[in-house]
């Protein structure tokens, strides 16, 4: 299998002695939509910083599309597009100038850059802001500008560090759609986010990092299968009796019209429904109380601690 990113034994100790990465190993397949999750300070941004050369590693190797960053960083950098967590452009420059400059740093001639600027600004719906100074853009528009900037040299691997932080729902959905589109077109995407439903919606594979170590690295489907217990909220049509008991299930009244049911792996939901129906309780809808990935995330972090 060809890998877009291969990390082996990556270590980083900062000058103040903080060991941010303790020898992490990670592989991201070409064309993957990959989530790198972890709590604040876990080492996500340090890892990304090393990959894109903003942080000097202490040990280990990083290969981007098979190119070792120690052997040929300029070539490895060509494969990478980075959307950082913090806004890092000159706010006094116009959107167009920011993009022309970024293209130029990759050796892309002005004519080609302008064609790409037209295309990507239109795709992300900010064409009309082309001549606006960046400081006049809203938070969501600034995020989209950073995505366009990261794509201007058409990288094979796009790294997004919390790209939807502070972005409204409508804009977030249009960003998801765009990211799916470029992923389907062949760009490998590595995403860090605190919105776990975002990772569950978009990504196929996942790694969770905590205290500078990889806690788990698998497909999201495999990971969720390991979830031993799920909690569902069941909405009833009628007002529920004060005490509800279902044989073999841990059920509690949530409010007048809602039941909370804890279902262990292997238990049959149809049986739960049948028993409730037998008690004259009709369930009209059901949902997970918490995002399933979030449950798994919390559980894995607790184990790693």
């Amino acid at each position: 299998m060809a890998y877009a990113l291969e990390i082996e034994g990556l270590e980083k100790t900062y000058a103040n002695g903080l060991q941010a990465l303790k020898g992490i190993d990670l592989r991201v397949a070409e064309g993957d939509f990959f989530a790198l999750l972890g709590p604040n300070g876990a080492g996500k941004s340090t890892t990304i910083g090393i990959i894109c050369s903003l942080v000097n590693k202490t040990g280990g190797t990083v290969r981007v599309n098979g190119v070792d960053i120690d052997d040929n960083f300029p070539v490895a950098k060509r494969f990478l597009g980075v959307v950082p967590q913090e806004f890092n452009f000159n706010v006094f420059e116009t959107v167009e100038d920011i993009l022309i400059h970024q293209a130029g740093y990759y050796g892309i001639p002005l004519k080609v850059a302008m064609e790409r600027i037209d295309r990507y600004l239109a795709k992300l719906g900010i064409s009309e802001k082309r001549h606006t100074r960046a400081r006049m853009l809203s938070g969501g528009m600034k995020r989209r500008l950073m995505i366009v900037r990261a794509l201007i040299h058409e990288p094979k691997v796009l790294i997004l560090d919390e790209p939807t932080a502070g972005v409204d729902i409508e804009m977030r959905r249009s960003m998801y759609e765009f990211l799916r589109e470029i992923n389907e077109a062949g760009t490998t995407i590595i995403l860090t986010t605190h919105y776990l439903e975002e990772a569950e919606t978009l990504c196929r594979n996942i790694a969770i990092i905590n205290h500078g170590k990889i806690v788990t690295n698998s497909s999201i489907k495999t990971l969720l299968r390991e979830l031993r217990r799920e909690t569902f909220l069941l909405d009833a049509q009628e007002v529920l009796p004060q005490h509800v008991e279902v044989k073999g299930f841990d059920v509690a009244r949530h409010d007048d019209h809602c039941l909370e049911a804890h279902v262990d792996q292997g238990q049959n939901l149809a049986e739960l429904m049948a028993q409730l129906h037998g008690q004259g309780i009709s369930i009209t809808s059901m949902r997970n109380r918490e995002n399933r990935l979030e449950q798994m995330f919390v559980s894995l972090l607790a184990q790693s601690a």
């Binding site: 900062y14 910083g49 000097n56 070539v75 060509r78 990478l80 890092n88 100038d97 740093y105 990759y106």
Partner: protein, 257 residues
């Protein structure tokens, strides 16, 4: 990067730098014209008439090359220190650091901004000076090469200052407490012959002495120091500054964690 791609990257940096200082021309180009006009008026015209000759020429003629060189030094330095530190401050330097642009192109890009501003201001100041005195340039080759080398040298110094600066105060300390005193003590307003032997010897350690005198030689044909030696000193200072700046970029000092 191929040679063509490096050329595109260099042109991009040059365009960006020139656009930056021309956009804010009232802060970058106009002040030098006003300040130098005042210098010409006060030191050259009003006081200069009472001083008489210096170094074999009128005082007005004597100070003009030094004042032009002072503009080049301060503007090439100020351009790079403010631009590079500004990029560090708003993190837009990361745009360059994550790109494949080689360090020597980054250096040349910022230097080209400093050199072009230094030369543009020099042209403005020269035009202003022509209102006060008629200059008959003696050695064009010397003038051009001193201007080019000096603006490169002080652009590099500005970049080194910006790399180490953490706050906006840090980028004004060197110009205020180092560059300005060195400029004033570098023979802009007086001939080193006027100094006692001890202070004349101390002045030999001041790089501005070589810069001002080499330029004065190019313009007027007079100098307090040997011009070949002056060129050698400017060249040595420039090479040291270039390799040190290149080392800072390569190691990522204060740029990468």
């Amino acid at each position: 990067m191929s040679a063509y791609e490096q050329w595109v990257a260099l042109l991009t940096l040059m365009r960006k730098e020139i656009k930056r200082y021309t956009r804010i021309w009232t802060q970058t180009l106009l002040p030098s014209a006003i300040t130098m006009s005042l210098y010409f008026l006060i030191f050259g015209s009003l006081i200069g008439d009472r001083i008489g000759q210096m170094g074999g020429v009128s005082y007005m003629e004597f100070v003009v090359p030094g004042l032009i060189m002072m503009s080049i030094v301060t503007n090439s330095y100020a351009n790079v220190v403010s631009s590079f530190f500004g990029s560090k401050f708003n993190n837009s330097i990361e745009e360059l650091l994550v790109s494949p642009t080689p360090n020597h192109i980054i250096l040349l890009g910022f230097i080209s901004g400093g050199v072009s501003r230094g030369m543009l201001v020099a042209l403005i100041v020269t035009v202003v000076s022509s209102l006060f005195v008629e200059l008959d340039i003696q050695h064009y080759g010397v003038v051009v090469s001193v201007v080019a080398l000096t603006s490169v040298l002080f652009s590099l110094c500005g970049l080194i200052n910006a790399v180490f600066a953490n706050t906006f105060d840090d980028i004004s300390i060197v110009p205020t407490f180092v560059l300005t005193p060195l400029t004033y003590l570098g023979g802009v307003f007086y001939s080193l012959d006027l100094l006692p032997d001890f202070w004349a010897s101390v002045s030999q350690a001041n790089p501005l002495v070589y810069v001002v005198n080499a330029f004065r030689y190019g313009v007027l044909g007079v100098s307090d120091v040997d011009v070949t030696f002056a060129f050698a000193m400017i060249g040595v200072f420039t090479l040291i500054a270039y390799f040190y700046a290149a080392h800072l970029l390569r190691s990522g000092t204060r740029l990468r964690t």
